[in-house]
């Protein structure tokens, strides 16, 4: 029996480890934990909206609240700062929903940079003032709004074979890209 009690101690030891402090956090929170201004903005912009999931996230330095909801059959992520001021709206879209000219420019970039590529996730990002962002949602107006595309894609060159995340401006020009690190799959493979 001693052997097994040791095992149990071992398991709980790990449990304690995992409860220690951590830098990167992204977790589901209750609506009551969100700044009331954020809730008010969301109500004004989306009016009769359905279920909203709230998240808190931090990279160790900056903190933010994020609301995830479905709107006109699209998944929207609305980011707020800790004062409840809306920062940007990201909408998950399909390839065919992208502006044709922009999509053409991005595809050209892919063709010239990679031997092989495929898009895995496309998000259009709207950034602007609180009022202008509200108009994007309830009036479908895009004045004073800056648009960018956050695209996750697989791209293979002669030397690199990776999953990437690229940020493209409203004309489809690449601003910045980074390699997306896929979490270890040892527990899925062996």
């Amino acid at each position: 029996m001693y052997k097994y009690s040791l095992l149990i101690v071992f398991i709980f030891g790990f449990n304690l480890c995992s409860a220690q402090e951590k830098d990167e956090v992204e977790e589901r929170i209750k609506k009551s934990e969100v700044h009331p201004k954020a809730i008010a903005w969301l109500k004004d912009a989306y009016e009769k909206r359905r279920k909203v999931k709230w998240y808190y996230q931090t990279d160790g330095k900056e903190e933010a609240f994020e609301a995830k909801l479905k709107h006109k059959k699209h998944l929207h992520s609305v980011e707020f700062n800790t004062d409840g001021i809306v920062q940007n709206i990201e909408v998950l879209i399909k390839e065919k929903e992208m502006d044709r000219t922009v999509f053409g420019i991005i595809t050209d970039y892919m063709n010239t940079t990679y031997n092989k590529f495929s898009f895995s996730k496309i998000q259009i990002q709207y950034t602007g003032s609180e009022d202008d962002l509200e108009d994007v949602i309830d009036e479908n107006e895009f004045e004073e709004i800056s648009i960018s595309y956050e695209i996750e894609y697989y791209g293979k060159t002669d030397t690199q074979n990776e999953l990437w995340e690229g940020l493209f401006d409203q004309d489809g020009k690449l601003i910045v890209k980074r390699i997306v690190k896929i979490k270890n799959t040892d527990n899925l493979d062996y």
């Binding site: 097994y4 990167e24 977790e27 270890n184 493979d189 062996y190």
Partner: protein, 226 residues
Amino acid sequence: MKYFFVSVLSLLFVQVRAQDNRFIFGFFPEASLKYNISENYSITHKIESQHGLFDSNRLNEELDYEHNLTDIQTFLGRKISPFVKVDIGYQYRLQEGENTHRSIQQVSILQRALSYRIGHRIRTDQTFFENASILYRIRYRLKGQIPLQGRELDPGENYLAISNELIYMIQSSEDDLENRLTAAYGFYIDDKNKVEVGLDYRTDDYLVEDRFRHRLWFKFGYYKSL
């Protein structure tokens, strides 16, 4: 933690229905160590061990410790893309009677969704015995990993891991099927350290007449990568 108990209970329920067949319960610790040797190649070592505590075949159905077997495995893996990996491996099995050698080939495919992810594993293996013909097996495993806090799995958070594996085996024209269902509670300490604690419910001898075997293992797995 409640997910853990739910999975334990549901597996126990499956087990209770089949009292008249052979039933084995025991501990099944396992540990793996993975490291990269180049951009695309990696080595994985794994050790797993079955320790029986209960076997309905024994005359007096009481708890009794028995070391069933210990497997030592080494794999050489090659990354084909960020989502596809192929491996060849070797296993040495220590058990009462005869120790065996096994060669293993596998392809693993990662499927990612917005929050959870699924690993597909297709494996073939051949086990070599001294006085019997080679045992050939082909197996497919599906394993889902679902974060329990938010959509991203961050260090210090926990996850639920559920898998099912179907195995077809054949040895000198006699064949059989085995199924392995597991449910585990995972501790994602960080990307280099993971612990999974759960149950592994195995049933086999499907194609063998008048025989059916259930094995329920309490599993404890540690996944380490360098």
